[in-house]
Amino acid sequence: MGRTTAAHRKYARLSFTDGEVVVSPRDRDIFLISAEKATEACRDVVQLDRRLERFGSEFLTPLHEWCVANAGRVRACYIPVPDSHIQVFVVTNSRRFDFDFAEKVAALELRFAAAGWRIGVSQLPDADDGSLATFFNPDGALEVYADGRPAPDQGGA
């Protein structure tokens, strides 16, 4: 299932201040690679001069705010480096698939679609490190939200 060894995993950790995305210098390069591919994947909204700014203000920040608003259910949120489309993975706190929460996730997906962001958002119930690697390559993935616990294999760094 394409598992990656822990030693090679690296998320780009994002933080959000006053509605803007903040990326540490250490993570800036992998963020830019991921963001560049993500905006290419969303051709509806690509404007070369503003696309990174719009990726942050119209997509990453609202997504982060949504995670914060649903913090009781959301443990983490990741965006792998896209290939043909953007896929968001929302890791929940529950071991069960939450059918009610799935409606909120679907509504989020539709909200972004209405704004021109063609993305998929998937719920991963209480996914551990190994499960995450089943669904996406953590290398270069954007960590949009984490509930304070260290990201997998980052050892709290």
């Binding site: 489309h85 069960r96 679907a106 509504a107 539709l110 119930p125 499960s131």
Partner: protein, 122 residues
């Protein structure tokens, strides 16, 4: 390029197969078959409208988001559950879903409305 009627037949065959899957033994496969029944229902809509074929799951989801938002939530749930059924371990799946979830949450609450929506329009 399959026709709308070919998709109707494929969806109907998937539905027949779904009814034969023992939910206490293979609920994961029931979820997968329910999703692919919905896939052909969506492709039936697309073909009937003259909008061509979807190029993949992401393209089909985008089509439903833009053209048929009324069934988007149903389709979204089926696609998410099917992804988990296909790629996670059996232990994870059986933690995430209970047998009763399949007839109630997957089929009655999600697949049935998609089928009714499509049937009313094609």
């Amino acid at each position: 390029m399959p026709t709308a009627d070919q998709h109707r037949i494929k969806a109907a065959r998937n539905r027949e197969f779904l009814a034969t899957i023992p939910l206490d033994g293979h609920p994961d496969w029931a979820v997968v078959v329910a999703f692919y029944t919905a896939v052909h229902a969506a492709e039936r809509l697309r073909a009937a409208a003259g909008h061509g074929d979807s190029t993949g799951h992401a393209d089909r989801l985008a089509y439903i988001q833009s053209r048929h938002p009324d069934i988007h939530t149903h389709y979204h749930v089926l696609q998410n559950a099917s992804m988990l059924a296909r790629y996670q371990s059996n232990a994870d799946f059986f933690n995430q879903f209970q047998p009763d979830d399949i007839p109630e949450q997957i089929i009655a609450r999600r697949l049935d409305p998609i089928e009714a929506y499509v049937t009313a329009r094609v």
